[in-house]
C-alpha cells in the first residue's frame, strides 16, 4: 500500500491557494485557459518545491518563500525611461498592460489579457516539467502582459523594451514574443519596481528561421521583492539568440532560462552577471536542449558576491542522441568579496550523442593582489582600485555584446549598482 501523506501547508502555500479562490472570478481566460489554471493550482497544492527536488536543491522555495503579500489593486506604477534612448517601450504597470502602445512598422503589440480571453495563448501555458513551480504559479494567476509579433524580415534599428514594473502586492505577467523568419531585433526585458512584491514573470520567445535576437533581461528589483522569472525559447533553423541577463536586486530571485535548439545551424549564447549584495538569494537555472544536429552554444556567467548574499547557477546542457556535431561551452566565474557571501555552481552535461564537443568550467576568486598593487602604484586609492577591478570582472561580459549603445546602457546600470553597493 502506498500512503501519500500531505505535509502541513506553509503560510505561503495557504496564502497562494486562498488567493486563487479569491481571484478566480477576476482572472481572464476562456474554458481552455481556465482548465490550465486549475491544473496549475493543483501543482501548487502539492506543495512548493523543496531542496529534495533536484532542480530546486539550492533554492528551497518552500522554506525561502515565507510570506506572500495580498494583491494590491490600488498600487500604481509608472513607466520609466528605457535603458537605450529611442527604444519602443511597452509597460506592464503593477500587473496590468498600459493603454499606451507604440506604433512601429512591422511590429504588433497585443495585450495578453485579450489572448487569454480568446484562448489563443492556452497551449503556451503548459508547464515544461513536473518541477516547473514558476510556470505553475504564473499559469494559475497570469492576468496580463503582452504579445509582440515582429513580422518576417523586419530589422529593427532600435530596441523594443518590455517593462514589468511592480509597485507592491502580487503581479503575474507573461510576455510572448514571436520573431519572424529573417527578422532582427534587440529586446529588453526590464524587471523592476519599488514594492515588497511577489511577482512571477514568464517570457516566451519563438524565433523563425534565420532570425537574430538579442534579449536583455535587466532585473533591478528592490531588496524586499520576490521575483520568480522564466525565459523560454525555441531556436529554429539558422537562427541566433543571445540572452544577456543582469541580476542586480531582489530579496529572493529565481531566473530560469529554458532553451531548445530545434533547427540545424541554431546558435545560442548566454551571457550574464549576478551582482549580489545584502541578505539576498539569487538563483539562475538554465536548461538547454541541443535537440538537433549541428547546433552551438556558449554560456558565460560572472558573479560578484558581497555582504551575506547567496547565489546559485545551475547550468544543464542536454545533448540529444541525434544531436551530433553539437558544440557547447559553459563557464561560471565568481568574485567573492566577503566572508559571509556564498555562490553555488552546478554544471550538468547530459550527452547522448557521441560526436560532440562539450565543456564547462567554474572558478571562485578574490581580487587579484598584483592587479590591485598595479592600480594603486598609479595613485588610485584602494577603494577605487577595487571598484575598477570588480567592475572590470563583469564588464568583460557586457563588452562582448558588441553593440556600443547597448554596452553603454548596461554599463550605466552597472555603475548605478556600484554607486549603491561599492
Amino acid at each position: 500500500m502506498n500512503m501519500h501523506t500531505q505535509p502541513q501547508r506553509t503560510p505561503a502555500e495557504t496564502a497562494l491557494i486562498d488567493a486563487f479562490g479569491d481571484r478566480l472570478s477576476l482572472l481572464p481566460g476562456d474554458g481552455a485557459v481556465m482548465l490550465k489554471r486549475d491544473d496549475a493550482i493543483e501543482t501548487i497544492k502539492h506543495g512548493l518545491p523543496t531542496r529534495r527536488v533536484e532542480s530546486w536543491h539550492y533554492t528551497d522555495l518552500r522554506r525561502l518563500l515565507n510570506a506572500v503579500p495580498d494583491f494590491d489593486p490600488a498600487a500604481m506604477a509608472k513607466a520609466i525611461a528605457p535603458i537605450v534612448d529611442g527604444s519602443a517601450v511597452v509597460s506592464i504597470l503593477n500587473g496590468k498592460s498600459d493603454a499606451k502602445v507604440p506604433v512601429l512598422e512591422g511590429v504588433s503589440f497585443q495585450r495578453l489579457s485579450e489572448k487569454l480571453i480568446d484562448g489563443s495563448i492556452a497551449p503556451g501555458l503548459d508547464p515544461y516539467g513536473s518541477d516547473d513551480a514558476i510556470g505553475a504559479l504564473n499559469t494559475a494567476f497570469v492576468a496580463d502582459g503582452y504579445f509582440v509579433d515582429i513580422a518576417d524580415g523586419v530589422e529593427l534599428e532600435k530596441p523594443v523594451e518590455l517593462q514589468n514594473l511592480q509597485a507592491g502586492g502580487q503581479t503575474h505577467v507573461r510576455l510572448a514574443v514571436r520573431v519572424g523568419a529573417g527578422a532582427k531585433s534587440v529586446i529588453v526585458e526590464r524587471q523592476t519596481g519599488d514594492g515588497a512584491a511577489l511577482g512571477s514573470s514568464v517570457s516566451h520567445l519563438v524565433l523563425g528561421e534565420g532570425a537574430e535576437v538579442t534579449w536583455l533581461i535587466v532585473q533591478e528589483q528592490p531588496e524586499t521583492a520576490t521575483h520568480l522569472a522564466q525565459f523560454k525559447a525555441h531556436i529554429g533553423k539558422n537562427a541566433k539568440l543571445t540572452v544577456f541577463f543582469m541580476n542586480a536586486g531582489g530579496k529572493l530571485v529565481r531566473q530560469e532560462i529554458v532553451v531548445k535548439t530545434t533547427g540545424e545551424g541554431a546558435d545560442f549564447k548566454l551571457r550574464g552577471i549576478n551582482l549580489l549584495a545584502g541578505d539576498t538569494h539569487t538563483d539562475v537555472t538554465m536548461v538547454l536542449d541541443h535537440a538537433v544536429p549541428h547546433t552551438t552554444s556558449t554560456e558565460v556567467i560572472r558573479n560578484v558576491v558581497t555582504g551575506k548574499a547567496r547565489g546559485v547557477f545551475q547550468g544543464r546542457i542536454n545533448v540529444h542522441q541525434y544531436a551530433q556535431k553539437t558544440n557547447a561551452k559553459m563557464a561560471c566565474n565568481t568574485l567573492l568579496l566577503s566572508d559571509d557571501g556564498e555562490f553555488s555552481t552546478k554544471p550538468e552535461l547530459e550527452i547522448f550523442a557521441d560526436d560532440v564537443v562539450c565543456g564547462h568550467g567554474a572558478t571562485v576568486t578574490e581580487i587579484d593582489h598584483d592587479h590591485l598593487f598595479y592600480l594603486m602604484a598609479r595613485g588610485v586609492d584602494e577603494k577605487s582600485a577595487r571598484g575598477l577591478l570588480v567592475k572590470a570582472f563583469v564588464a568583460e561580459v557586457i563588452e562582448e555584446l558588441d553593440d556600443e549603445t547597448i554596452v553603454e546602457a548596461l554599463e550605466a546600470r552597472l555603475d548605478d549598482w556600484f554607486m549603491a553597493h561599492g
Binding site: Y374, M376, A377, R378, V380, D381, E382, K391, A392
Partner: protein
C-alpha cells in the same frame, strides 16, 4: 630627495631577507643607476619603494623629501610623486587603458587638490604623449596591457610616467625585452623627462641602457647592499670586467 638608511627587508611569506642594510642617497635632479647581478635585490628594492605588501621592512628607513614613506600605502606614495615603471607590467583584463589613464591622472590631481582634467585636455595630453613614444592610439583602446608585446608594455609604462609627471621615477629593468629601436624610443622618452626637480633610479642589469640614459651616479647592489658607488665610468668598468672584480673587492 631619496634617502635609504640601513634598510633591511624580507619576503612576508617565507621570511627570506633580501635587503640587508642598504644605504643610498639620490639627490633632486640626479639620475642614479642601480646595477647588480641577478638575485642581488634590485627588483625587490623597486617594489619596496612602491610599497608592495609582499615585502616587510624590518629595520632602517626610507626618507622621501625628508619624510618616512614606510607607513604610506602604494597609492599615497604614487600621489606624493613616486612612480615605478614595472619590469613586468600586469595585464588587467576588462580595464580599458584610456579609462585607467583618466582615473589615475584625476586621482593624482585630486590628491594634490587640483580639478579633474576636462575630457578634451585629457585626450590632448594622451595623444601628445603617445605620439612622442610612437604609440598607436588604437592600442590604448584595448584593456590595460592585454595582448601588448613586451616592448609595447614598456612604452605604456613610460607613457604613464609622462602623463603622471612624478618626481621620483624608479625604472625597473626598463630595457629588458626591448629591441634597439624600442630601446631608443623609450630612452628618449625618459631623457625628455629629465628635469632639475625630478630624480631617477634606473635599475638595470646591463650597461646598454646607460648608453642611452646617461647616469650621474652608479651603484652596485649585491646581496641586498650597495657595495660600490661611482660615476658612469663604473658602469663601463662593470661591462668590461664583470661583477666579480667589484664583489671580490668588497669581500
Amino acid at each position: 630627495m631619496l634617502e635609504i638608511r640601513n634598510l633591511h627587508a624580507r619576503i612576508v611569506d617565507d621570511g627570506t631577507e633580501i635587503i640587508r642594510g642598504l644605504n643610498l642617497t639620490v639627490k633632486t635632479g640626479e639620475v642614479a643607476a642601480i646595477m647588480g647581478p641577478n638575485g642581488s635585490g634590485k627588483s625587490t628594492l623597486s617594489y619596496i619603494l612602491a610599497g608592495r605588501e609582499d615585502y616587510e621592512v624590518t629595520e632602517g628607513d626610507i626618507l622621501y623629501n625628508g619624510q618616512s614613506i614606510l607607513e604610506m600605502d602604494p597609492a599615497e606614495r604614487a600621489t606624493s610623486g613616486i612612480f615605478l615603471a614595472f619590469q613586468y607590467p600586469m595585464e588587467i583584463p576588462g580595464v580599458a587603458t584610456m579609462e585607467f589613464l583618466k582615473v589615475a591622472m584625476n586621482e593624482q590631481r585630486k590628491a594634490r587638490g587640483e580639478e579633474p582634467l576636462k575630457i578634451p585636455e585629457f585626450l590632448k595630453r594622451v595623444k601628445e604623449a603617445a605620439a612622442s613614444l610612437s604609440m598607436d592610439m588604437a592600442m590604448l583602446k584595448r584593456p590595460l596591457n592585454v595582448g601588448f608585446s613586451g616592448g609595447e608594455k614598456k612604452r605604456a609604462e613610460i607613457l604613464q610616467m609622462k602623463l603622471l609627471e612624478p618626481k621620483l621615477c624608479v625604472l625597473d629593468e626598463t630595457d629588458s625585452g626591448l629591441d634597439i629601436d624600442a630601446l631608443k624610443i623609450v630612452s628618449d622618452g625618459v631623457n625628455a623627462l629629465r628635469a632639475p626637480d625630478r630624480a631617477f633610479l634606473v635599475i638595470t642589469h646591463y650597461q646598454r641602457l646607460l648608453e642611452h640614459i646617461v647616469p650621474d651616479t652608479v651603484h652596485v647592489l649585491y646581496k641586498g647592499q650597495v657595495i660600490k658607488s661611482g660615476d658612469k665610468s663604473l658602469a663601463l668598468d662593470l661591462e668590461a670586467n664583470g661583477y666579480a672584480g667589484v664583489i671580490g673587492e668588497a669581500a
